[in-house]
């Protein structure tokens, strides 16, 4: 049987990765570890002077680690859903070459997502191992929490690629990072519980998909119950992923087969 076409795209990514992994991976692994050290260890000392009910009486480091895991997975997914897509459509135009072969636009989208899944998993795994080394999370629970974190990252990758493939200018990228990715990263219950936000902002944070990913990840990492029933959290993240896949199969086609 012929190899599913999206897997051929995945293989292409893997081959290219031998040359590009240094530039793309080291930063993706290092940044969350730096955050963990600065916030968890540094800021944590300050926070932990008095036990905090809002953190469920946990150390700040233990509370922060799963949030950072999910948020970093989202950032990795966002990176994979933006720069490589723009390279494919505009900077190097490799997507245009790919669709001249039997590869179809939707195969490109799916192949990219499979590749993002592997990459996000590796980045998240390294983070969990390092965090376990700090004593921030038991290794077994950290590994369990990889599931929802990676799912969150891939869902963001799917949605962002579906939009970015249509871009005809690059400026939009800076805005996307500044006004979407960074606020999500900061206000989705990553660094502090959303209950700390003013009521309106807290309500907004609770509809953001990252918050649901964070809640799932934290519940698995700490062995606690999430804020809402877990099918709700999982449903939101899966819905984001499905929406990204479906939208991408339309937008990739529109862009690459005008």
């Amino acid at each position: 049987m012929a190899m599913p076409i999206a897997l051929r795209v995945l293989e292409g990514h893997a081959r290219a990765y031998r040359h590009t992994w240094r530039g793309t991976t080291i930063g993706a692994v290092l940044t969350p570890v730096l955050f963990l050290a600065a916030m968890g260890l540094g800021l944590g000392q300050l926070v932990d002077r008095e036990p905090t009910a809002a953190l469920g009486e946990l150390s700040y480091l233990a509370w922060l680690t799963p949030g950072l895991l999910a948020a970093s997975a989202m950032q990795a997914g966002a990176a994979d859903g933006t720069f490589p897509v723009l390279a494919g459509t505009r900077w190097v135009r490799t997507y245009h070459t790919a669709v001249a072969s039997p590869v179809r636009p939707r195969d490109l989208h799916l192949g990219n997502l499979l590749w993002a899944t592997i990459r996000i998993s590796v980045i998240a795994l390294v983070f969990v191992v390092v965090a376990a080394g700090f004593g921030a999370v038991p290794l077994s629970r950290g590994l369990l929490a990889l599931g929802p974190a990676v799912l969150t990252g891939v869902a963001f990758c799917a949605v962002l690629s579906a939009g970015v493939v249509l871009l005809i200018r690059d400026q939009f990228l800076a805005g996307l990072n500044r006004f979407v990715i960074v606020p999500l990263f900061l206000f989705s219950g990553t660094f502090f519980p959303v209950e700390q936000l003013p009521p309106v902002a807290g309500a907004i944070a609770r509809v953001l998909p990252l918050w649901h990913g964070v809640e799932l990840t934290r519940a698995l990492a700490l062995g606690t119950a999430p804020a809402l029933p877990w099918p709700v959290h999982l449903g939101v993240v899966v819905a984001l992923l499905v929406a990204g896949i479906l939208a991408g199969s339309v937008t990739f086609d529109r862009r690459l087969r005008p």
Binding site: R15, H96, S101
Partner: protein, 308 residues
């Protein structure tokens, strides 16, 4: 066997803009067929429909007897495409660019390895096999793209401006390679806005302008039908009254085209005409007699020069 391309009233619109306007084409196996036209003529749009990467807006199109809409993937597996931009992954090696593309066709890895050897030999880049693409010259990159397009052993090659932007020597190397492909029986479809390229490579061509086909035929037949045997190019001194000079030239009974920088006169005997010019008292700064080319055909048919 069905023709390679069969198009009836083929049309491509982007919104309300018509890029390809009801063109008819028939390309036979083994032919080298050209689309000659200026920027924006619709050459790329036509090629992309034939290459099954752009839906047909209206009209009929069959490529290798297949419907590009319904059988796109099967059709693309039998085509080799050289796009207008190289689109090579600059960070990868020459061989890796070819290997990744070969896997898109689901070719077995050993077959790909063998073909890379053969193809790099063919495009005279064997010693660059493991070199990164980035530092290669424009002509070399173009040859890598040709090797990439051949990785699936295509029956038909679609070449969109294969030599645009290259220096004359690099162009000649490419023409030589393309000529060899034609000798092997591969059908070549190419677009160009160089008349010399069209004359060198094409058995037959269509001249396109604003989405339409304005002429079709073998290069020599087109020249015979739309131009004279020779063309005299006359440059006048800046102080000379151009309109008056053109009137004098027109009185000779030959066709005259006044371009911004020179005047062209279409004649059968250039030397005799040059003597006549002097006899009529004109003192041009330069006079050149040359063979008529497709450029003259284009000028005749559209009233504009082909080169930009």
């Amino acid at each position: 066997m069905p023709p390679v391309v069969e198009a009836r009233a083929l049309t491509k619109r982007f919104g309300t803009f018509t890029a390809v306007d009801r063109i008819d084409l028939e390309v036979a196996r083994g032919e080298a067929f050209g689309f000659l036209g200026p920027n924006g003529a619709g050459k790329t749009s036509a090629m992309r429909m034939i290459g099954a990467v752009s839906p047909v807006t209206e009209g009929q199109l069959r490529v290798l007897g297949m419907d590009p809409e319904r059988e796109g993937a099967e059709l693309r597996a039998r085509l080799g495409v050289v796009p207008q931009e190289d689109a090579l992954d600059q960070e990868l090696t020459v061989a890796e660019n070819l290997a990744i593309y070969g896997r898109y066709f689901d070719l077995p890895r050993p077959v790909i390895r063998e073909r890379i050897d053969e193809l790099l030999e063919f495009v005279q880049l064997s010693e660059r096999r493991q070199a990164r693409v980035d530092p290669l010259s424009g002509g070399m990159k173009r040859r890598v793209v040709i090797a990439r397009a051949l990785i699936n052993d295509p029956e038909v090659m679609l070449l969109d401006e294969p030599t645009t932007g290259l220096d004359p020597q690099a162009r000649h190397v490419l023409w030589d390679r393309l000529f060899r492909l034609k000798q092997r029986g591969i059908t070549l479809l190419l677009t160009t806005h160089y008349m010399d390229e069209a004359e060198q490579l094409c058995d037959r061509l269509v001249v396109m302008d604003a989405g339409r086909i304005v002429a079709e035929g073998a290069p020599t037949a087109l020249i015979a039908a739309h131009a004279t045997r020779e063309v005299v190019e006359i440059r006048l001194a800046p102080e000379e009254d151009e309109d008056a000079a053109v009137q004098v030239l027109e009185r000779t009974g030959h066709r005259v085209e006044a371009l911004p920088d020179r005047v062209l006169v279409y004649v059968d005997d250039g030397d005799a005409f040059v003597r006549e010019v002097h006899a009529r008292g004109l003192e041009p700064t330069a006079v050149l007699t040359r063979r008529a080319t497709l450029e003259d055909v284009f000028l005749r048919l559209t009233g504009r020069a082909l080169a930009d």
